[in-house]
């Protein structure tokens, strides 16, 4: 069946593990036809990119086979993949900034096939004309927009003779107009008999461009459906799966008081694209507010804007209501230090634990100092209090470390997180923000983190929990704000919401959603 004539690539029983614990792909089988656009759909960490990296020669499978045109092949390097006509356009472009488009295409060609720049420029123009691309062969890459760079990557791949193109989340960096343009050329390429695999988690794009959809969930192959027969609902169900009952405590909310009021918050990402678009909602002391969304939907900007680390556009506002004095403070436009000096006890457990929350080469003591080292007028920093705090955190959270002086980067992920959460809670916050706080942690440590968040909630802290596991969000949070494409797509009651509802809001922007809806 899979060796029939029209199959361009067939992957059979592919398994790939990283280390002993993480299985990225488990027994995945997948066919790609000639002249079709196949969407590869799945949540974050479902193994889409890993699977395609094996096809393009970046990784090699632990077991399983790959057939190209019915012949078994062993792809051990990107060059092997190119020789088989397989090319991948990665999320992070592999271009040399200071070279022109032509020079970038010429790079990596071996001597036998090397041509002079004029011939290559001509070939580029031919490819552009054939498929409707727009590339200036003489333009330097550093002068290009993100969309132009992506186009160049595709042209480069085509120039090398690729018949099977893999695009890893190609629309993540594009504006809607640019996305339409991209889809138009993809259709032209398909008409020319090329096979295209597009890795994505945006359902509307899947429905707009693909012929078939293959779904992965947690590294496993779930199934393939014809796009014409699929709906947003059916794809969401396949993507998120059945609800798993978790035994996470959720104490009842009592005396919740408004602590943060976020209104019309708009932020740009580093490319100048709106990462957060006019988001408004309130957070209450005494509750856990979950934030759900596909990764990169603006979660990072949301938390960092509140923390004073991200610039917000005009009209944005984050109001903080002091629980003791009842005073109102505007946080937007203030630096981290200014926010702290206003008496706002804001704690933040960022996603990047060692790159942002902690100093990897320092021990627990010095990491505890990060929040408190400025205390006092002395030019020398007080190490006594941080040392006591380190000992306390180590004992209470059972941090496994040879000593409190051992550099924290040597600790396991779970222990690193305990150090970070322990420090942030020790600041006696009134607002506690945590991003992906249990990512990569084992079950026991995860439950420790849930317990700590619940304790904070019961102490009246406004907890904002950005998560990716919907089962956890539904079991832990009192309310769930769902972000989609930088917009607030709805706020659900954590006790009554279903996984499908959240999944729908994550992947499909509600009609006419322009201003966030902030009632639960």
């Amino acid at each position: 069946m899979f060796l029939e004539n029209n199959t361009a690539v067939s992957m059979r029983h592919i398994t790939k593990a990283f280390g002993t614990k993480v299985v990225a792909n488990k027994d995945v089988s997948l066919d790609i036809e000639r002249g079709e656009i196949l969407a590869l759909l799945g949540e974050n960490g479902s193994g889409k990119t890993t699977l395609m990296n094996m096809l393009s020669g970046i990784y090699h499978q632990d077991s399983g086979q790959i057939f190209v045109d019915g012949r078994e092949v062993h792809i051990t390097s990107p060059k092997d993949a190119y020789d088989l006509g397989i090319g991948m356009i990665h999320q992070h472009f592999k271009l040399v900034d200071v070279l022109t488009a032509t020079e970038n295409v010429a790079l990596g060609m071996d001597k036998k096939t090397a041509k002079n720049n004029r011939e290559i420029a001509k070939a580029i123009e031919e490819i552009c004309e054939k498929y409707g691309f727009d590339v200036d062969p003489k333009q330097k890459v550093y002068n290009m927009t993100v969309s132009q760079k992506q186009t160049l990557e595709i042209v480069k791949t085509l120039y090398r003779g690729a018949n099977i193109l893999i695009l890893d989340e190609p629309t993540a960096v594009l504006t809607p107009q640019e996305t339409d343009k991209l889809f138009a050329v993809l259709r032209n390429m398909k008409a020319d008999g090329k096979s295209i695999i597009i890795i994505t988690h945006k359902l509307n794009e899947v429905l707009a461009i693909s012929d078939r959809v293959s779904i992965l969930r947690k590294g496993e192959y779930i199934g393939t459906v014809l796009t014409a027969e699929a709906s947003v609902q059916s794809l969401t169900d396949m993507m998120v799966g059945q609800k798993v009952e978790l035994d996470i405590d959720r104490p009842e909310v009592d005396n919740s008081v408004k602590r943060l009021s976020i209104s019309h918050l708009t932020c740009l990402d580093k490319y100048g694209v709106k990462a957060l678009d006019d988001v408004s909602f309130d957070a209450y002391g005494g509750e856990i507010l979950g934030v759900a969304g596909i990764s990169g939907s603006g979660q990072k900007q949301l938390l960092e804007a509140i923390a004073g680390l991200q610039r917000a556009e005009g009209g944005s506002s984050v109001k903080y209501y002091d629980p003791e004095s009842g005073e109102e403070h505007e946080l937007i436009g203030k630096s981290v230090t200014e926010i702290k000096n206003m008496g706002v006890a804001l704690s933040f457990v960022p996603e990047d634990r060692l790159g942002m929350g902690l100093v990897g080469t320092m021990g627990m003591t010095d990491n505890m100092m990060l929040r408190s080292y400025r205390n006092g007028k002395n030019i020398f920093a007080d190490r006594k209090a941080p040392r006591n705090l380190a000992i306390k955190v180590k004992d209470e959270l059972e941090v496994l470390t040879p000593s409190i002086q051992t550099p924290v980067r040597r600790l396991s992920g779970g222990n690193v997180q305990k150090v970070l959460v322990g420090r942030e809670i020790a600041c006696e916050p009134t607002v506690l923000m945590a991003a992906y706080a249990v990512r990569g942690l084992d079950i026991n440590t995860s439950y420790t983190i849930y317990r700590l968040l619940n304790e904070q909630k019961q102490m009246g802290v406004a907890v904002i929990y950005v998560g990716e596991d919907l089962d956890v969000l539904l079991a832990l949070c009192d309310r769930i704000a769902v972000l989609c494409d930088g917009k607030l797509n709805g706020v659900l009651d954590g006790r009554t919401a279903t996984k499908e509802e959240v999944g729908m809001l994550m992947t499909h922007l509600k009609e006419g959603n322009d201003d966030g809806n902030d009632d639960a």
């Binding site: 933040f348 929350g357 100093v359 990897g360 010095d366 020398f380 920093a381 040879p402």
Partner: protein, 375 residues
Amino acid sequence: MATMTHKKDPLVRIARRETMPKWQSLLIRIGSVVAALLLAGLIVFLLTGVNPIDVYSSMLKGAFGSSEKNFARNTWITVRDTMMLLCIAVGLAPAFKMRFWNIGAEGQVLVGGIATAACMIYLKSLPPWLLFICMIGASLLAGAVWGLLPAVFKAKWDTNETLFTLMMNYVALQLTCFFVAKWEHPAGSNKVGVINQGATAKEGWFPAIFGQEYMLNVIIVMTITVGMFFYLKYSKQGYEIAVIGDSPNTARYAGIPVDKVIIRTMLISGAICGLAGFVTVSGSAHTISTSTAGGKGFTAIIVAWLSKFNTFIMIGVALLLTVFDKGAIQVATDCGISKDMSNMITGIILFFIIGSEFFINYRMIFRKKAKEATA
């Protein structure tokens, strides 16, 4: 199932070590120096036929004198040069700890030296204590300015500090040429000559302390060394430097004003390097020339790195490198072999010391052992 491509495990796998007791890492470091001396000796013998023991003993003679008579003199010169190197390395320490690659010590020393020489020439009528304050202030200021420029550009526009500080060296070098021509003495010599010598009262020269000409060099540099140690290890500013060096993102998260700290730290780094110019011009050379820094600005980088920015360890490393340098000249004359040969020995020893870090941080797992380990 069809055949699968199975690549053989590599013969040696390299894995990071968890921790190593201090004595063990010390043993590895000492072992590496011994191994380097043995290997270097073997190479010297094979290439030249000279007894390596003779080479090493004349190295020591070069550094500490060949007889009791010149022992004190030679040793003091070695100490003086060690202090100069140490002072620059201590100046580099805060910048490097912040992962700010200050390659511009050479230039910072030169401008500090120019400022000192200018004070000695133009302000010699001042009372000595005032003259000294002027010299110190001027050299600190000159070095600080040389450090400030690349820091501001780095903080505001994220320019590459390695290139910037390196280029500043050439500016300083050209400035030195200009002042050498301006202060030329005697005319036509293209040298500044020894400043305030002879008939004058050696204004702006370091006074001898306890009868020792270079004692003040030692006192100044050691004070800075100890001070820098405490500054980096215990002060709040030192903590900020360490956080930025490891992760600027974490620093921003903690509310550390990264730009301000970069500028402040480079002011300190440049100023101390400028002061090294003062120590050498006022305290030993008593003149200024394009070779006043003499490459020590670059050698100090090695000193700072080998000591992992611990200023106390820098004392030992600076001494070691100075001894090798002094020894090299002696070896050339005593054994009739080129000075390059002793430079080669220095190179081998440095290579081994740096290489020993690998064995401290990593361990090697051989194929057979790895199988047993996983079994």
